[in-house]
């Protein structure tokens, strides 16, 4: 089966610093794939390259075999890639419902004329989307919050709303950037089952950047370890997390020696 997302030889430098260096990845349909690595390893840069926020210096990003590298971010979003952010980025002064509506906006194709003249195309699309956004809130358990300002929600609810908003753009691939950041073990448990549920219900392929290992171990079928913009190990979670290279990248030399001396 062809991968839904395929990245080849992706490179991006900022000034003299090579943030991403020859990065490659294959994400199969309906797969959950993890990216781990120390801070500053270039993981979020990869997400910014996939979503078109940055333009790659070289390399290919193929979504269902179509090149999307160098396309504008709104076109990439419409072709089926959505993401969340490490630090939540909602429309924090708008209502919960409006946050979803913005994501559904791309499903409308009426023009300013249709609004001014009050044409049917405008009215019927508005109706369909209003209904659909309520369905999203229902699914994500945010119905009773729909009129509240997004910035006033609890941290966990904001995370859920951000994922709901990403899904409302109807993606084929969902990119989650440290979804468990700042969560306690209980909340992490909830998040894991939540991601598993949306993965199943929406039939998505998911790419997760995460530091919280339970998320990676429980959800991912395949893990890729990145350091200095390069993949240093890849495979199933068990193998990868026991790889000496990986332990070294995460813990540094000295600790590795202690780690080995203690018989692990």
């Amino acid at each position: 089966m062809n991968p839904v997302l395929k990245i080849e030889k992706l490179t991006k430098s900022f000034g003299g610093l090579t943030a991403v260096n020859g990065f490659a990845l294959e994400l199969a349909e309906h797969e959950i794939h993890g990216i781990i690595g120390p801070n500053g390893a270039g993981k979020t840069t990869v997400f910014n390259l996939i979503t078109g926020v940055y333009r790659p210096d070289s390399g290919h990003i193929l979504l269902e075999e179509k090149e999307i590298a160098n396309l504008p971010p709104d076109v990439i979003s419409r072709s089926g890639i959505a993401r969340t952010f490490q630090n939540i980025r909602l429309f924090s002064q708008m209502s919960v419902l409006d946050n979803i509506k913005v994501a559904l906006h791309q499903r409308s194709n009426y023009r300013l004329w249709d609004v001014i003249l009050g044409l049917k195309r405008f009215r019927s699309q508005e109706k369909v989307i209003a209904k659909e956004s309520l369905e999203y809130l229902e699914y994500f358990g945010l119905t009773n919050r729909h009129n509240e300002v997004a910035g006033s929600l609890s941290y966990g609810e904001q995370r859920r709303l951000e994922i709901a908003r990403a899904l409302a753009t109807h993606p084929k691939v969902l990119l989650l950037d440290e979804p468990a950041a700042g969560m306690n073990p209980r909340e992490v448990e909830d998040l894991i089952s939540f991601i598993r549920k949306i993965h199943h219900d929406f039939g998505l392929a998911i790419l997760i950047i995460e530091h919280q290992m339970p998320v990676i171990m429980d959800l991912c079928t395949h893990v890729q370890v990145v350091d200095f913009g390069q993949t240093i190990a890849a495979g199933d979670p068990e193998t990868v997390t026991n790889d000496p290279l990986v332990i070294r990248a995460y813990l540094g030399e000295e600790e590795v020696e202690e780690h080995e001396a203690s018989g692990n």
Binding site: S77, F91, S92, M94, Q106, Q125, I129, R165, T169
Partner: protein
């Protein structure tokens, strides 16, 4: 009593014109965090497009007004496309200077085309004099200007708050960086904003030209007043721009009526300073807390 009501109506008429201009300032500021100092001159261009349509082809107001609004909308879109878009991520100061340059260009362009004289858009609104009760005298055109302006503002409010496109506009004002990741073409939302702001200013220009007179430099004074009104109301806020406009017009009209016309601007600008000391972000403006 009748005199006070009469003055209130004068204030409402002037305030309506201010508001139609102030809305463009506040909307553009909301989405781009930029003061479009050419906006007063877009208002002037709108007035002259209306003037030309009314005088050269004798177009009746019911056609002239929508067509003028449409053409001025394209002027606004073109200015954003040509002069502002490339500078969107540049220093704000560069954008402000560019906007001032665009304004000076528009003034001189119009002066070159139609000449510097003061003119009047031929009065087309019905101007029968209506008498209410014991001597309250109102002309129909004054009432119509106020009513049509209020209708346009209501439509704008419904558009921004109740439609998807308006929701997208508010989202740009809230967090523009995320907009493209929602699959929305940011340039298109910005173009629509400039189009609406310019069309409303054109409506203001036509009303102003019917009630008073027009010349290529009219946009400077009125543009400043409308800008002040938007700031008093809380720039970025649509409701604030309308409120600020009627307040400012009220202060001006009553100063002229009961104190002295020489004090008009002094009091208006003094009020700006005073109100901003009390509400630094304007009456309906949100305090700006920059995310770290």
């Amino acid at each position: 009593m009748e005199i006070i009501i009469q003055q209130l109506l004068n204030a409402a008429q002037l305030g309506a014109v201010y508001a139609l201009i102030a809305l463009g300032y506040t909307m553009v500021y909301g989405i781009l965090r930029m003061i479009n100092f050419a906006h007063g001159d877009i208002f002037m261009v709108g007035a002259f497009i209306g003037f030309l349509l009314a005088t050269t082809v004798n177009m009746p107001l019911v056609l002239m007004m929508p067509l003028t609004m449409l053409l001025t909308a394209f002027v606004g879109i073109a200015i954003e496309r040509v002069a502002y878009r490339k500078l969107r991520d540049a220093n704000r100061m560069s954008l402000v200077i560019t906007a001032l340059g665009v304004g000076i260009f528009l003034e001189n362009f119009v002066r070159m085309v139609v000449g510097p004289q003061t003119r009047q858009i031929p009065a087309q609104l019905p101007d029968k004099i209506l008498t209410f009760g014991s001597g309250l005298v109102v002309t129909e055109d004054k009432l119509l200007i106020i009513l049509i302006s209020l209708a346009l503002m209501t439509i704008l409010w419904l558009f921004t708050n109740k439609t998807l496109m308006g929701t997208a506009m508010r989202a740009v004002a809230d967090n523009a960086d995320v907009i493209p990741l929602m699959g929305i073409n940011l340039n298109r939302v910005i173009a629509v904003t400039f189009a609406i702001g310019s069309a409303l200013a054109a409506a203001g220009g036509i009303f102003y030209g019917q009630a008073y007179s027009i010349d290529p430099y009219m946009g400077i004074d009125l543009g400043w007043k409308a800008f002040i009104a938007a700031v008093i109301g809380g720039i970025g806020s649509i409701e604030g721009a309308v409120l600020g406009s009627f307040m400012l017009a009220g202060v001006e009209v009553f100063t002229v009526a009961y104190l002295s016309s020489n004090l008009k601007n002094g009091i208006a600008f003094g009020l700006l300073i005073l109100l901003l000391l009390i509400w630094p972000s304007g009456i309906m403006g949100k305090p700006m807390i920059k995310k770290v």
